[in-house]
Protein backbone atom coordinates (compact mmCIF):
# COMPACT_ATOMS: atom_id res chain seq x y z
CA UNK A 1 0.00 0.00 0.00
CA UNK A 2 1.24 3.46 -0.89
CA UNK A 3 -0.01 6.44 1.06
CA UNK A 4 0.56 10.06 0.10
CA UNK A 5 -0.15 12.69 2.75
CA UNK A 6 -0.45 16.34 1.72
CA UNK A 7 2.20 16.04 -0.93
CA UNK A 8 3.31 19.30 -2.52
CA UNK A 9 5.88 19.84 -5.20
CA UNK A 10 7.10 23.29 -6.13
CA UNK A 11 9.66 23.86 -8.86
CA UNK A 12 11.97 26.90 -8.78
CA UNK A 13 10.68 27.90 -5.35
CA UNK A 14 11.31 31.55 -4.54
CA UNK A 15 12.04 32.46 -8.16
CA UNK A 16 9.76 34.40 -10.50
CA UNK A 17 9.37 31.15 -12.45
CA UNK A 18 8.05 29.29 -9.38
CA UNK A 19 5.61 26.62 -10.38
CA UNK A 20 3.50 24.48 -8.11
CA UNK A 21 3.10 21.08 -9.79
CA UNK A 22 1.30 19.34 -6.92
CA UNK A 23 -0.87 20.96 -4.26
CA UNK A 24 -1.61 18.97 -1.11
CA UNK A 25 -2.25 15.64 -2.78
CA UNK A 26 -3.41 12.91 -0.42
CA UNK A 27 -3.97 9.50 -1.92
CA UNK A 28 -4.08 5.85 -0.96
CA UNK A 29 -2.98 3.33 -3.60
CA UNK A 30 -4.00 -0.22 -2.80
CA UNK A 31 -1.82 -3.26 -3.38
CA UNK A 32 -2.34 -5.67 -6.26
CA UNK A 33 -4.43 -3.17 -8.17
CA UNK A 34 -3.97 -1.28 -11.39
CA UNK A 35 -4.30 2.44 -10.69
CA UNK A 36 -4.32 4.98 -13.46
CA UNK A 37 -3.42 8.62 -12.86
CA UNK A 38 -5.34 10.48 -15.51
CA UNK A 39 -5.23 14.10 -16.44
CA UNK A 40 -4.24 16.62 -19.09
CA UNK A 41 -0.69 17.68 -19.77
CA UNK A 42 0.73 19.67 -16.87
CA UNK A 43 -1.74 18.23 -14.36
CA UNK A 44 1.07 16.77 -12.24
CA UNK A 45 0.79 13.07 -13.21
CA UNK A 46 4.44 12.50 -13.96
CA UNK A 47 5.56 14.56 -10.95
CA UNK A 48 3.35 12.49 -8.68
CA UNK A 49 4.62 9.28 -10.24
CA UNK A 50 8.24 10.31 -9.81
CA UNK A 51 7.62 11.08 -6.13
CA UNK A 52 5.88 7.74 -5.57
CA UNK A 53 8.77 5.99 -7.33
CA UNK A 54 11.36 7.78 -5.12
CA UNK A 55 12.87 9.48 -8.16
CA UNK A 56 12.22 12.92 -6.70
CA UNK A 57 11.34 14.30 -3.31
CA UNK A 58 8.28 16.38 -2.48
CA UNK A 59 8.60 19.98 -1.31
CA UNK A 60 6.27 19.11 1.57
CA UNK A 61 4.22 16.12 2.70
CA UNK A 62 5.05 12.50 3.25
CA UNK A 63 4.87 9.27 1.27
CA UNK A 64 4.51 5.94 3.04
CA UNK A 65 5.30 2.63 1.43
CA UNK A 66 3.88 -0.40 3.26
CA UNK A 67 3.47 1.89 6.27
CA UNK A 68 7.09 2.99 6.20
CA UNK A 69 7.74 6.67 5.65
CA UNK A 70 10.10 7.02 2.69
CA UNK A 71 10.36 10.73 1.83
CA UNK A 72 12.76 11.43 4.68
CA UNK A 73 15.06 8.53 3.86
CA UNK A 74 18.69 9.32 3.10
CA UNK A 75 19.55 8.91 -0.58
CA UNK A 76 21.36 5.58 -0.28
CA UNK A 77 18.29 3.97 1.33
CA UNK A 78 16.11 5.40 -1.43
CA UNK A 79 18.39 3.90 -4.06
CA UNK A 80 17.89 0.52 -2.48
CA UNK A 81 14.12 0.91 -2.41
CA UNK A 82 14.05 2.13 -6.01
CA UNK A 83 16.12 -0.83 -7.10
CA UNK A 84 14.19 -3.55 -5.31
CA UNK A 85 10.65 -2.20 -5.07
CA UNK A 86 9.92 -0.36 -8.30
CA UNK A 87 10.10 -1.26 -11.95
CA UNK A 88 9.98 1.77 -14.21
CA UNK A 89 8.50 1.88 -17.70
CA UNK A 90 8.90 5.27 -19.33
CA UNK A 91 7.20 7.01 -22.23
CA UNK A 92 10.29 6.45 -24.32
CA UNK A 93 11.98 3.05 -23.95
CA UNK A 94 15.21 4.82 -22.85
CA UNK A 95 17.36 1.87 -23.89
CA UNK A 96 21.09 2.42 -24.12
CA UNK A 97 22.27 2.44 -27.69
CA UNK A 98 25.38 0.56 -28.75
CA UNK A 99 24.80 -2.44 -26.48
CA UNK A 100 22.58 -5.45 -26.96
CA UNK A 101 19.00 -5.89 -25.81
CA UNK A 102 20.15 -8.53 -23.32
CA UNK A 103 22.73 -6.18 -21.78
CA UNK A 104 20.15 -3.41 -21.55
CA UNK A 105 17.76 -5.72 -19.74
CA UNK A 106 20.40 -6.97 -17.29
CA UNK A 107 21.83 -3.52 -16.51
CA UNK A 108 19.59 -2.57 -13.52
CA UNK A 109 20.49 -5.86 -11.80
CA UNK A 110 24.26 -5.40 -11.94
CA UNK A 111 24.54 -3.41 -8.66
CA UNK A 112 22.85 -6.27 -6.77
CA UNK A 113 25.73 -8.58 -7.62
CA UNK A 114 23.68 -11.52 -8.81
CA UNK A 115 25.63 -14.19 -10.69
CA UNK A 116 25.75 -13.44 -14.39
CA UNK A 117 24.55 -16.93 -15.37
CA UNK A 118 21.43 -16.60 -13.21
CA UNK A 119 20.86 -13.08 -14.38
CA UNK A 120 21.15 -14.06 -18.01
CA UNK A 121 18.65 -16.90 -17.55
CA UNK A 122 16.21 -14.55 -15.86
CA UNK A 123 16.60 -11.94 -18.60
CA UNK A 124 16.17 -14.53 -21.37
CA UNK A 125 13.02 -15.85 -19.66
CA UNK A 126 11.61 -12.33 -19.51
CA UNK A 127 12.43 -11.69 -23.15
CA UNK A 128 10.86 -15.02 -24.13
CA UNK A 129 7.68 -14.18 -22.19
CA UNK A 130 7.28 -11.06 -24.30
CA UNK A 131 8.27 -12.83 -27.55
CA UNK A 132 11.51 -10.99 -28.18
CA UNK A 133 14.01 -13.66 -27.10
CA UNK A 134 15.23 -13.83 -30.70
CA UNK A 135 16.31 -10.17 -30.41
CA UNK A 136 18.44 -10.69 -27.29
CA UNK A 137 21.75 -10.30 -29.12
CA UNK A 138 20.54 -7.48 -31.35
CA UNK A 139 21.58 -3.92 -30.74
CA UNK A 140 18.70 -1.82 -29.47
CA UNK A 141 18.80 0.59 -32.41
CA UNK A 142 17.73 -2.28 -34.65
CA UNK A 143 14.44 -2.79 -32.75
CA UNK A 144 11.03 -1.58 -33.83
CA UNK A 145 9.04 0.72 -31.48
CA UNK A 146 7.01 -2.18 -30.06
CA UNK A 147 10.05 -4.37 -29.54
CA UNK A 148 11.89 -1.55 -27.82
CA UNK A 149 8.92 -0.97 -25.52
CA UNK A 150 8.78 -4.69 -24.65
CA UNK A 151 12.53 -4.74 -24.00
CA UNK A 152 12.08 -1.82 -21.59
CA UNK A 153 9.29 -3.76 -19.83
CA UNK A 154 11.57 -6.77 -19.36
CA UNK A 155 14.25 -4.41 -18.01
CA UNK A 156 11.72 -2.98 -15.53
CA UNK A 157 11.01 -6.49 -14.27
CA UNK A 158 14.57 -7.78 -13.99
CA UNK A 159 14.81 -7.12 -10.22
CA UNK A 160 11.37 -8.62 -9.64
CA UNK A 161 9.78 -5.45 -8.25
CA UNK A 162 6.35 -5.63 -6.69
CA UNK A 163 5.31 -2.20 -7.91
CA UNK A 164 5.37 -1.34 -11.62
CA UNK A 165 5.34 2.31 -12.53
CA UNK A 166 4.54 3.27 -16.11
CA UNK A 167 4.61 6.84 -17.34
CA UNK A 168 2.47 7.35 -20.46
CA UNK A 169 3.48 3.90 -21.74
CA UNK A 170 1.23 3.93 -24.80
CA UNK A 171 2.10 7.45 -25.94
CA UNK A 172 4.32 6.18 -28.74
CA UNK A 173 2.52 2.93 -29.51
CA UNK A 174 -0.11 2.25 -32.13
CA UNK A 175 -3.48 0.75 -31.14
CA UNK A 176 -2.45 -2.87 -31.63
CA UNK A 177 0.71 -2.46 -29.55
CA UNK A 178 -1.19 -0.52 -26.91
CA UNK A 179 -3.61 -3.42 -26.51
CA UNK A 180 -0.64 -5.77 -26.33
CA UNK A 181 0.84 -3.57 -23.61
CA UNK A 182 -2.39 -3.74 -21.59
CA UNK A 183 -2.37 -7.52 -21.90
CA UNK A 184 1.10 -7.52 -20.38
CA UNK A 185 -0.17 -5.29 -17.55
CA UNK A 186 -2.92 -7.82 -16.92
CA UNK A 187 -0.31 -10.54 -16.40
CA UNK A 188 1.45 -8.31 -13.84
CA UNK A 189 -1.82 -7.94 -11.97
CA UNK A 190 -2.35 -11.68 -12.09
CA UNK A 191 1.12 -12.13 -10.57
CA UNK A 192 0.08 -9.95 -7.63
CA UNK A 193 2.01 -6.84 -8.60
CA UNK A 194 0.79 -3.30 -8.00
CA UNK A 195 0.68 -1.21 -11.17
CA UNK A 196 0.53 2.58 -11.34
CA UNK A 197 0.14 4.12 -14.78
CA UNK A 198 -0.11 7.74 -15.83
CA UNK A 199 -2.07 8.18 -19.03
CA UNK A 200 -4.56 10.30 -20.84
CA UNK A 201 -5.13 7.52 -23.37
CA UNK A 202 -8.75 6.20 -23.14
CA UNK A 203 -7.47 2.81 -24.22
CA UNK A 204 -5.62 2.66 -20.92
CA UNK A 205 -7.96 4.26 -18.38
CA UNK A 206 -11.09 2.69 -19.87
CA UNK A 207 -9.57 -0.76 -19.85
CA UNK A 208 -11.50 -3.34 -17.84
CA UNK A 209 -8.41 -4.41 -15.89
CA UNK A 210 -7.96 -0.95 -14.37
CA UNK A 211 -9.23 -0.95 -10.79
CA UNK A 212 -9.09 2.74 -10.11
CA UNK A 213 -8.75 5.95 -12.05
CA UNK A 214 -7.49 9.04 -10.22
CA UNK A 215 -8.19 12.30 -11.99
CA UNK A 216 -5.61 15.01 -11.63
CA UNK A 217 -5.95 18.62 -12.70
CA UNK A 218 -3.73 21.59 -11.82
CA UNK A 219 -1.81 19.53 -9.33
CA UNK A 220 -4.84 18.44 -7.37
CA UNK A 221 -7.03 15.36 -7.29
CA UNK A 222 -10.44 15.94 -8.79
CA UNK A 223 -13.21 14.47 -6.69
Amino acid sequence: MIELVNVKKVFNAGNPSEFSALNSVSLLIEENQVTVLKGPSGSGKTTLLSIVGCMSRPSAGRVKLQGREITSLPERFLTDIRRKTFGFIFQQPNLIKGISVLDNVMLPAYPLGEKRVHLKNKAMKGLAALNIANKAASKVEWLSGGEAQRASIVRALINDPYIIIADEPTAHLDTKLSYRFMEIIETFKAEGKTVIITSHDPLVYESSMVDRVVNLRDGQIEV
Binding site: V5, K8, R57, S59, A60, T71, S72, P74
Partner: protein, 337 residues
Protein backbone atom coordinates in the same frame (compact mmCIF):
# COMPACT_ATOMS: atom_id res chain seq x y z
CA UNK B 1 56.56 36.06 7.33
CA UNK B 2 52.96 35.34 6.36
CA UNK B 3 54.03 35.06 2.71
CA UNK B 4 55.81 31.81 3.49
CA UNK B 5 53.96 29.11 1.48
CA UNK B 6 53.30 26.90 4.49
CA UNK B 7 51.97 29.84 6.51
CA UNK B 8 49.63 30.74 3.65
CA UNK B 9 48.48 27.11 3.51
CA UNK B 10 47.86 27.09 7.27
CA UNK B 11 45.92 30.32 7.28
CA UNK B 12 43.93 29.33 4.20
CA UNK B 13 43.00 26.01 5.79
CA UNK B 14 42.00 27.77 9.03
CA UNK B 15 39.86 30.40 7.29
CA UNK B 16 38.17 27.82 5.08
CA UNK B 17 37.46 25.62 8.10
CA UNK B 18 36.05 28.49 10.15
CA UNK B 19 33.91 29.82 7.34
CA UNK B 20 32.50 26.39 6.48
CA UNK B 21 31.90 25.49 10.12
CA UNK B 22 30.01 28.74 10.71
CA UNK B 23 27.97 28.17 7.55
CA UNK B 24 27.19 24.63 8.70
CA UNK B 25 26.38 25.90 12.20
CA UNK B 26 23.77 28.28 10.75
CA UNK B 27 21.82 25.29 9.41
CA UNK B 28 22.82 23.17 12.40
CA UNK B 29 21.03 25.59 14.72
CA UNK B 30 17.93 25.42 12.54
CA UNK B 31 18.10 21.63 12.67
CA UNK B 32 18.43 21.73 16.46
CA UNK B 33 15.44 24.07 16.71
CA UNK B 34 13.04 22.80 14.08
CA UNK B 35 13.94 19.19 13.25
CA UNK B 36 10.91 16.91 13.53
CA UNK B 37 11.10 13.74 11.45
CA UNK B 38 7.42 12.99 12.06
CA UNK B 39 6.41 16.21 10.40
CA UNK B 40 6.15 16.66 6.64
CA UNK B 41 6.17 20.45 6.56
CA UNK B 42 8.26 22.31 4.04
CA UNK B 43 10.99 23.44 6.41
CA UNK B 44 11.54 19.88 7.64
CA UNK B 45 12.01 18.63 4.07
CA UNK B 46 14.37 21.52 3.31
CA UNK B 47 16.40 20.62 6.43
CA UNK B 48 16.48 16.95 5.40
CA UNK B 49 18.01 17.98 2.08
CA UNK B 50 20.35 20.53 3.68
CA UNK B 51 21.77 18.05 6.12
CA UNK B 52 23.32 16.08 3.21
CA UNK B 53 25.13 19.18 2.04
CA UNK B 54 26.18 20.19 5.54
CA UNK B 55 27.36 16.73 6.58
CA UNK B 56 29.33 16.25 3.34
CA UNK B 57 30.88 19.66 3.68
CA UNK B 58 31.79 19.11 7.32
CA UNK B 59 33.27 15.74 6.45
CA UNK B 60 35.84 17.51 4.26
CA UNK B 61 36.31 20.43 6.66
CA UNK B 62 37.03 18.18 9.61
CA UNK B 63 39.25 16.02 7.41
CA UNK B 64 41.18 19.22 6.68
CA UNK B 65 41.15 19.99 10.40
CA UNK B 66 42.85 16.65 11.12
CA UNK B 67 45.53 17.38 8.52
CA UNK B 68 46.00 20.94 9.73
CA UNK B 69 47.55 19.77 13.02
CA UNK B 70 50.37 18.08 11.15
CA UNK B 71 50.63 20.99 8.71
CA UNK B 72 50.98 23.36 11.66
CA UNK B 73 53.78 21.31 13.20
CA UNK B 74 55.46 20.99 9.80
CA UNK B 75 55.20 24.77 9.31
CA UNK B 76 56.67 25.52 12.72
CA UNK B 77 59.49 23.14 11.90
CA UNK B 78 60.14 24.61 8.45
CA UNK B 79 60.24 28.20 9.81
CA UNK B 80 63.00 27.29 12.26
CA UNK B 81 65.91 28.78 10.25
CA UNK B 82 64.19 32.18 10.31
CA UNK B 83 64.46 32.67 14.07
CA UNK B 84 67.58 33.12 16.09
CA UNK B 85 67.74 30.51 18.81
CA UNK B 86 65.19 28.15 17.34
CA UNK B 87 66.49 24.64 16.67
CA UNK B 88 63.18 23.00 15.82
CA UNK B 89 59.41 23.61 15.94
CA UNK B 90 59.63 24.04 19.73
CA UNK B 91 61.56 27.29 19.33
CA UNK B 92 59.38 28.59 16.49
CA UNK B 93 56.22 28.02 18.50
CA UNK B 94 57.79 30.07 21.28
CA UNK B 95 58.45 33.20 19.19
CA UNK B 96 55.26 34.81 20.47
CA UNK B 97 52.52 34.14 22.99
CA UNK B 98 50.16 32.42 20.55
CA UNK B 99 52.20 29.48 19.21
CA UNK B 100 51.64 26.96 21.99
CA UNK B 101 48.00 27.91 22.75
CA UNK B 102 47.27 27.35 19.05
CA UNK B 103 48.97 23.96 19.21
CA UNK B 104 46.95 22.92 22.27
CA UNK B 105 43.74 24.03 20.58
CA UNK B 106 44.68 22.16 17.42
CA UNK B 107 45.17 18.98 19.43
CA UNK B 108 41.79 19.42 21.15
CA UNK B 109 40.11 20.23 17.83
CA UNK B 110 41.74 17.22 16.19
CA UNK B 111 40.10 14.95 18.75
CA UNK B 112 36.65 16.57 18.71
CA UNK B 113 36.65 16.85 14.91
CA UNK B 114 37.57 13.17 14.71
CA UNK B 115 34.74 12.34 17.10
CA UNK B 116 32.32 14.36 14.98
CA UNK B 117 33.35 12.31 11.95
CA UNK B 118 32.74 9.11 13.93
CA UNK B 119 29.31 10.34 15.02
CA UNK B 120 28.48 11.46 11.49
CA UNK B 121 29.43 8.10 10.02
CA UNK B 122 27.19 6.30 12.52
CA UNK B 123 24.33 8.72 11.87
CA UNK B 124 24.57 8.13 8.13
CA UNK B 125 24.02 4.41 8.66
CA UNK B 126 20.53 4.92 10.11
CA UNK B 127 17.51 5.48 7.90
CA UNK B 128 15.90 8.01 10.25
CA UNK B 129 18.84 10.34 11.09
CA UNK B 130 19.09 8.84 14.58
CA UNK B 131 21.99 10.97 15.83
CA UNK B 132 21.30 14.16 13.93
CA UNK B 133 20.64 16.38 16.94
CA UNK B 134 23.63 15.01 18.84
CA UNK B 135 25.76 15.59 15.76
CA UNK B 136 24.78 19.22 15.44
CA UNK B 137 24.99 19.77 19.17
CA UNK B 138 28.58 18.59 18.98
CA UNK B 139 29.10 20.94 16.04
CA UNK B 140 27.78 23.83 18.14
CA UNK B 141 30.32 22.85 20.78
CA UNK B 142 33.20 22.55 18.30
CA UNK B 143 32.52 25.71 16.25
CA UNK B 144 33.76 28.26 18.85
CA UNK B 145 36.97 26.25 19.29
CA UNK B 146 37.57 26.17 15.53
CA UNK B 147 37.02 29.93 15.28
CA UNK B 148 39.20 30.57 18.33
CA UNK B 149 41.90 28.39 16.78
CA UNK B 150 41.75 30.47 13.59
CA UNK B 151 42.07 33.69 15.58
CA UNK B 152 44.98 32.39 17.62
CA UNK B 153 46.69 30.95 14.57
CA UNK B 154 46.32 34.27 12.71
CA UNK B 155 47.64 36.12 15.74
CA UNK B 156 50.56 33.69 15.96
CA UNK B 157 51.66 34.09 12.36
CA UNK B 158 50.96 37.84 12.25
CA UNK B 159 52.85 38.52 15.48
CA UNK B 160 56.01 36.77 14.33
CA UNK B 161 58.98 39.10 14.35
CA UNK B 162 62.20 38.02 12.70
CA UNK B 163 64.35 39.89 15.22
CA UNK B 164 63.00 37.92 18.17
CA UNK B 165 65.52 35.69 19.88
CA UNK B 166 63.63 32.59 20.89
CA UNK B 167 64.47 29.67 23.14
CA UNK B 168 65.61 26.35 21.78
CA UNK B 169 63.99 23.04 22.65
CA UNK B 170 66.89 22.15 24.90
CA UNK B 171 65.86 25.04 27.11
CA UNK B 172 62.06 24.67 26.82
CA UNK B 173 62.07 20.94 27.57
CA UNK B 174 64.84 20.84 30.09
CA UNK B 175 64.64 18.86 33.28
CA UNK B 176 66.91 21.44 34.85
CA UNK B 177 64.39 24.24 34.52
CA UNK B 178 61.89 24.64 37.26
CA UNK B 179 59.00 26.28 35.45
CA UNK B 180 56.90 25.42 32.41
CA UNK B 181 54.85 22.37 31.51
CA UNK B 182 57.51 21.11 29.11
CA UNK B 183 60.18 21.20 31.78
CA UNK B 184 57.91 19.62 34.35
CA UNK B 185 57.26 16.72 31.98
CA UNK B 186 60.95 16.48 31.19
CA UNK B 187 61.75 16.42 34.89
CA UNK B 188 59.59 13.36 35.52
CA UNK B 189 61.72 10.33 36.39
CA UNK B 190 62.27 8.50 33.10
CA UNK B 191 62.34 4.96 34.46
CA UNK B 192 59.19 5.44 36.51
CA UNK B 193 57.44 6.97 33.49
CA UNK B 194 58.57 4.01 31.39
CA UNK B 195 56.94 1.63 33.88
CA UNK B 196 53.77 3.74 34.01
CA UNK B 197 53.64 3.88 30.20
CA UNK B 198 53.86 0.11 29.80
CA UNK B 199 51.52 -0.49 32.75
CA UNK B 200 48.77 1.80 31.45
CA UNK B 201 49.30 0.50 27.91
CA UNK B 202 48.89 -3.08 29.14
CA UNK B 203 45.62 -2.16 30.89
CA UNK B 204 44.39 -0.27 27.81
CA UNK B 205 45.14 -3.11 25.42
CA UNK B 206 43.69 -5.71 27.81
CA UNK B 207 40.50 -3.74 28.27
CA UNK B 208 40.27 -3.18 24.50
CA UNK B 209 40.66 -6.89 23.78
CA UNK B 210 38.07 -7.68 26.47
CA UNK B 211 35.68 -5.20 24.86
CA UNK B 212 36.23 -6.65 21.39
CA UNK B 213 35.47 -10.15 22.65
CA UNK B 214 32.65 -9.49 25.14
CA UNK B 215 31.28 -6.12 23.94
CA UNK B 216 31.38 -4.99 27.56
CA UNK B 217 33.30 -2.07 29.06
CA UNK B 218 33.15 0.40 26.18
CA UNK B 219 33.16 3.45 28.44
CA UNK B 220 36.05 2.07 30.43
CA UNK B 221 38.07 1.50 27.28
CA UNK B 222 37.26 5.01 26.04
CA UNK B 223 38.43 6.50 29.36
CA UNK B 224 41.60 4.39 29.29
CA UNK B 225 42.24 5.48 25.69
CA UNK B 226 42.17 9.11 26.74
CA UNK B 227 44.38 8.39 29.74
CA UNK B 228 46.78 6.42 27.54
CA UNK B 229 46.93 9.31 25.09
CA UNK B 230 47.91 11.75 27.84
CA UNK B 231 50.40 9.30 29.35
CA UNK B 232 51.92 8.75 25.88
CA UNK B 233 52.34 12.49 25.29
CA UNK B 234 54.07 12.86 28.64
CA UNK B 235 56.13 9.73 27.94
CA UNK B 236 57.37 11.12 24.63
CA UNK B 237 58.83 14.10 26.50
CA UNK B 238 59.90 12.15 29.54
CA UNK B 239 61.70 9.09 28.17
CA UNK B 240 60.79 8.07 24.58
CA UNK B 241 62.60 11.09 23.15
CA UNK B 242 65.71 10.22 25.19
CA UNK B 243 65.98 6.81 23.52
CA UNK B 244 65.35 8.22 20.04
CA UNK B 245 67.97 10.98 20.41
CA UNK B 246 70.22 8.68 22.43
CA UNK B 247 70.86 11.58 24.77
CA UNK B 248 69.91 11.47 28.45
CA UNK B 249 69.13 15.22 28.55
CA UNK B 250 67.27 15.92 25.30
CA UNK B 251 63.51 15.73 25.86
CA UNK B 252 62.15 17.64 22.83
CA UNK B 253 58.91 16.23 21.38
CA UNK B 254 59.44 18.14 18.11
CA UNK B 255 62.94 17.18 16.99
CA UNK B 256 61.64 13.67 16.31
CA UNK B 257 59.69 15.01 13.31
CA UNK B 258 62.92 16.13 11.65
CA UNK B 259 64.70 14.44 8.77
CA UNK B 260 67.60 13.41 11.04
CA UNK B 261 65.22 11.12 12.87
CA UNK B 262 63.55 9.87 9.68
CA UNK B 263 60.38 11.89 10.41
CA UNK B 264 59.60 9.26 13.04
CA UNK B 265 57.60 11.77 15.09
CA UNK B 266 54.93 12.10 12.40
CA UNK B 267 54.34 8.36 12.49
CA UNK B 268 54.27 8.27 16.30
CA UNK B 269 51.81 11.14 16.53
CA UNK B 270 49.67 9.78 13.69
CA UNK B 271 49.34 6.43 15.48
CA UNK B 272 48.64 8.12 18.80
CA UNK B 273 46.01 10.56 17.54
CA UNK B 274 44.30 7.89 15.44
CA UNK B 275 44.20 5.60 18.47
CA UNK B 276 42.70 8.17 20.83
CA UNK B 277 39.99 9.30 18.39
CA UNK B 278 38.85 5.76 17.61
CA UNK B 279 39.18 4.78 21.29
CA UNK B 280 37.05 7.64 22.59
CA UNK B 281 34.70 7.03 19.66
CA UNK B 282 33.82 3.70 21.29
CA UNK B 283 32.53 5.53 24.36
CA UNK B 284 30.79 8.22 22.34
CA UNK B 285 28.76 5.70 20.32
CA UNK B 286 28.07 3.18 23.09
CA UNK B 287 24.91 4.92 24.41
CA UNK B 288 23.24 4.55 21.01
CA UNK B 289 23.60 0.80 20.58
CA UNK B 290 19.91 0.26 21.28
CA UNK B 291 18.67 2.84 18.78
CA UNK B 292 16.31 0.90 16.52
CA UNK B 293 17.72 1.99 13.16
CA UNK B 294 21.33 1.46 14.29
CA UNK B 295 20.90 -1.84 16.10
CA UNK B 296 22.12 -3.95 13.21
CA UNK B 297 25.29 -2.06 12.40
CA UNK B 298 26.39 -0.03 15.40
CA UNK B 299 27.80 -2.88 17.47
CA UNK B 300 29.94 -3.95 14.51
CA UNK B 301 31.12 -0.40 13.90
CA UNK B 302 31.99 0.17 17.57
CA UNK B 303 33.94 -3.09 17.58
CA UNK B 304 35.82 -1.96 14.46
CA UNK B 305 36.64 1.34 16.16
CA UNK B 306 37.93 -0.49 19.24
CA UNK B 307 39.95 -2.80 17.03
CA UNK B 308 41.41 0.14 15.08
CA UNK B 309 42.30 1.87 18.33
CA UNK B 310 43.89 -1.31 19.69
CA UNK B 311 45.95 -1.85 16.54
CA UNK B 312 47.13 1.78 16.53
CA UNK B 313 48.09 1.70 20.21
CA UNK B 314 49.81 -1.64 19.73
CA UNK B 315 51.71 -0.27 16.71
CA UNK B 316 52.67 2.82 18.73
CA UNK B 317 53.95 0.63 21.55
CA UNK B 318 55.81 -1.63 19.13
CA UNK B 319 57.49 1.38 17.54
CA UNK B 320 58.43 2.86 20.92
CA UNK B 321 59.74 -0.52 22.10
CA UNK B 322 61.78 -0.92 18.93
CA UNK B 323 63.34 2.52 19.47
CA UNK B 324 64.15 1.66 23.10
CA UNK B 325 65.60 -1.76 22.28
CA UNK B 326 67.73 -0.54 19.37
CA UNK B 327 68.84 2.67 21.09
CA UNK B 328 72.44 3.00 22.30
CA UNK B 329 71.15 4.81 25.36
CA UNK B 330 70.81 2.81 28.54
CA UNK B 331 68.98 4.36 31.46
CA UNK B 332 70.13 2.29 34.39
CA UNK B 333 69.26 4.71 37.18
CA UNK B 334 67.43 7.99 37.66
CA UNK B 335 69.47 11.15 37.36
CA UNK B 336 68.41 13.58 40.05
CA UNK B 337 69.45 17.17 39.59
Amino acid sequence: MILHPTVIANLLAAYISSFMVLYALFYGVQILKYWDIENGHELQLVLERKTYLIATLLGYVFGLQLLSLFLYIFTADSLTPLFVGAMCAAGTLNVDAFGYPTLVLKIVNFIVAGLWLVLNYADNQGYDYPLIKKKYLLLAFIAPFIVLETLLESAYFLSMKADVITSCCGSLFSSERTTGLGSEMAALPALSMLRIFYGVMFCTLASGIFFCIKSVGGYFYAALSLLMFLVSLVSIVSFISLYIYELPTHHCPFCIIMEEYHYLGYLLYLLLFGAVVSGIGVGVLSPYRQVESLKLMLNGFIRKLALASLILYAAFTALVTYEIVTSSLVIAYEVVY
